[in-house]
Symmetry: C2
Subunit: 386 residues, 2 copies
């Protein structure tokens, strides 16, 4: 047998799986993917996969039977099927109870509140009437279907009853309850990643500052430049949440700072876009720590190894430029930038890679990272365009 | 098409191929391996390979036809077959002329001397008589078959005519000429890696200090702690050699310092054990720079990102301990050590992985790295045992 390490099954085979595989090669953990298609980003670079759907109970059962431990690259899974599998002995990390909570924005808000963590004001709505009641209280509101959205797909800002009624009717036609909250005028957005192993060990990365445009993460910088007390508060929130939600693996917590106070916006229980900078920027990457956690190995140091690091996403531009054709020109511009390409065709708005730059401060690192994104022919949002 | 990048074929699929694949995933270069066996270290983690021999002309021809660029993980290749393939248009990086020179220790010595670089005294020997003539001059001598050895396999130290005659007769029975040289009392061993692209761009990593035991690399540290002039001289040697030998890809140069002077001992034109520390210790790893070079992308910065780094090889111990069974215990000892496992069964004397530790100085880094090796149940040579 070439391996004595347990085989870790990864449900989903996108770029997160691809980067998990890179980390897995290092520490010798064999991975196996449940992929939608043989052209998925992770399947392009890994030898072991099955084609199947994360929403199909038979596919999940077949997949689980071929792995020692099953983990997840996204939350769009058939949680009931996972509950059945856990009952018959499958090792699922994180477990279905945690996945159920996080896959449903309403459940997540309840769970976070139950754990004593600060959340923004919110209301559940199953009918247009309930949405309108909320909008009477918060005329500038955000409607989010409680399940199925990610990356800003599924975040709808409305202004006033008229617009709210139209959007609510359309969204509720899908029979998924909505989360309604006031549009928050936050001072800044930040995020933090924690890892927890089955034996209860917890490590937390330094919080990062994030820039989201239309609900999509565009830029991450560390250190976050927060007041010391606030950074400690965010770390404490992550530490409490990862234990309260019984997470095994990674937990990413996205927060807003509103009027000087931290509130939890979103949770994810998997490697997260706000942790890609840890590949070059931290002693142990989020991907390696996810694998260490799900295989119950001691967790690695989360310390930053550089004074500052910036990560920007490569998002396909409207003109369809393929950044792979511009790689040589871009790499010539900056010999210390780290370009990550996911093997995906460029399409407008699609995440096809990221660039990480380490530097003496986040201002220089960010400027250099966006210069690379521009040289690669990718979208540079107005918010950062020089 | 999922990829617009050229497919790079790698002849050989051991741990160097495995680590090349890790780097290739990052920058989106698709690799394809020519492997001896489906259990090879690289094949365990990569989707595209063919089984075949690097010494078989038909296998090489078939393999080359399925790749855009062919590179090499070892030098034990049928160079004549490669010359034929190059003539009909195959893109081989490095080319067969370079491989021929480096695969033959006699050719290499001539090439290095021709490039005006310092070499130790040496003589070729095709007969026992020629060996004995050399031993008359150097009673403590080293005999090396000019082709086929690596990692100390193929280095024979002899003392006096009697022993020399016995060893020479045995070695010459294989009809491979020998390289004879005096046993050098070197003050230290060092190594340096350079990368060169087809367009002629060259970068050189900082020289490292190495510890070899029985001709096998056991420990690498950077910075090498050399006098400044000597480090600059070693870098200059690498820069001159990589151009003179028309290397495309990486060149590793192992040197001795004898009576204060640098002499070139060995060359390799591929990623090299003395460069594994660059994965965590340098801005761009040797593996990424090899891929950038062979695909003619601009080369990445070779600067160290940490004050000091130590790499020690994990070599199977006589008792057959599998380090994978001791991983949890070892990782608990040091949360910042980087353990790399190659997916190979542990056998006495076999390289099955390496550990890299970054620290404030090489003394601490080295001590911590050997502590991990010991905790993983691997050989710790007397030379470093505390």
């Amino acid at each position: 047998m070439p391996h004595s390490s347990p085989t870790v099954g990864v449900v989903g085979a996108g770029q997160l799986g691809r980067m998990l595989h890179q980390a897995a090669i290092g520490i010798g953990v064999p991975l196996r993917f449940l992929a939608d298609s043989p052209s998925d980003a992770a399947v392009q670079v890994a030898p072991a996969f099955e084609i199947g759907s994360a929403r199909s109970a038979p596919d999940l059962a077949r997949f689980a039977s071929s792995c020692d431990i099953v983990t997840f690259e996204h939350e769009l899974v058939d949680v009931e099927a996972l509950e059945d599998l856990e009952r018959i002995g499958a090792v699922l990390r994180p477990g279905p109870k945690t996945l159920r909570l996080v896959a449903d924005k309403l459940g997540m808000r309840r769970g976070v509140g139950w754990a004593g963590l600060p959340v923004p004001p919110w209301k559940p709505a199953k009918t247009v009437e309930q949405v309108l009641e909320a909008v009477d209280e918060w005329p500038e509101a955000v409607l989010k279907p409680s399940r199925g959205g990610y990356d800003g797909r599924g975040v709808f800002t409305v202004s006033g009853r008229g617009e709210a009624a139209v959007v609510a009717e359309r969204l509720l036609a899908r029979r998924v309850p909505l989360l309604v909250e006031p549009r928050l005028d936050f001072e800044l957005e930040a995020a933090v990643i924690a890892a927890r192993s089955p034996s209860g060990e917890i490590v937390v990365y330094d919080p990062v500052a994030t820039l989201q445009v239309d609900g999509q993460c565009r830029q991450v910088t560390a250190p976050a430049g927060l007041p010391e007390g606030m950074a400690a508060e965010i770390v404490a929130i992550a530490r409490r949440a990862v234990a309260a939600l019984d997470v095994v693996g990674l937990l990413a917590v996205e927060v807003f700072v509103v009027e000087g106070s931290v509130v939890v916006n979103e949770l994810a229980v998997r490697p997260h876009n706000t942790g890609h900078h840890t590949i070059e920027g931290a002693v142990t990457s989020q991907f390696e720590n996810h694998l260490r956690a799900v295989t119950d190995l001691p967790l690695g140091s989360t310390t930053l190894v550089v004074p500052a690091v910036a990560m920007v996403n490569l998002i396909g531009d409207a003109d369809g430029t393929d950044p792979r054709g511009r790689l040589a020109g871009a790499l010539a511009l900056d010999r210390s930038a780290h370009v990550h390409l996911y093997g995906k065709e460029s399409r407008p708005g699609r995440k096809i890679g990221h660039v990480t730059v380490c530097d003496a401060d986040t201002v220089s690192a960010t400027r250099r990272a966006w210069r690379m994104a521009a040289a690669l022919g990718c979208q540079v949002p107005e918010e950062v365009a020089r």
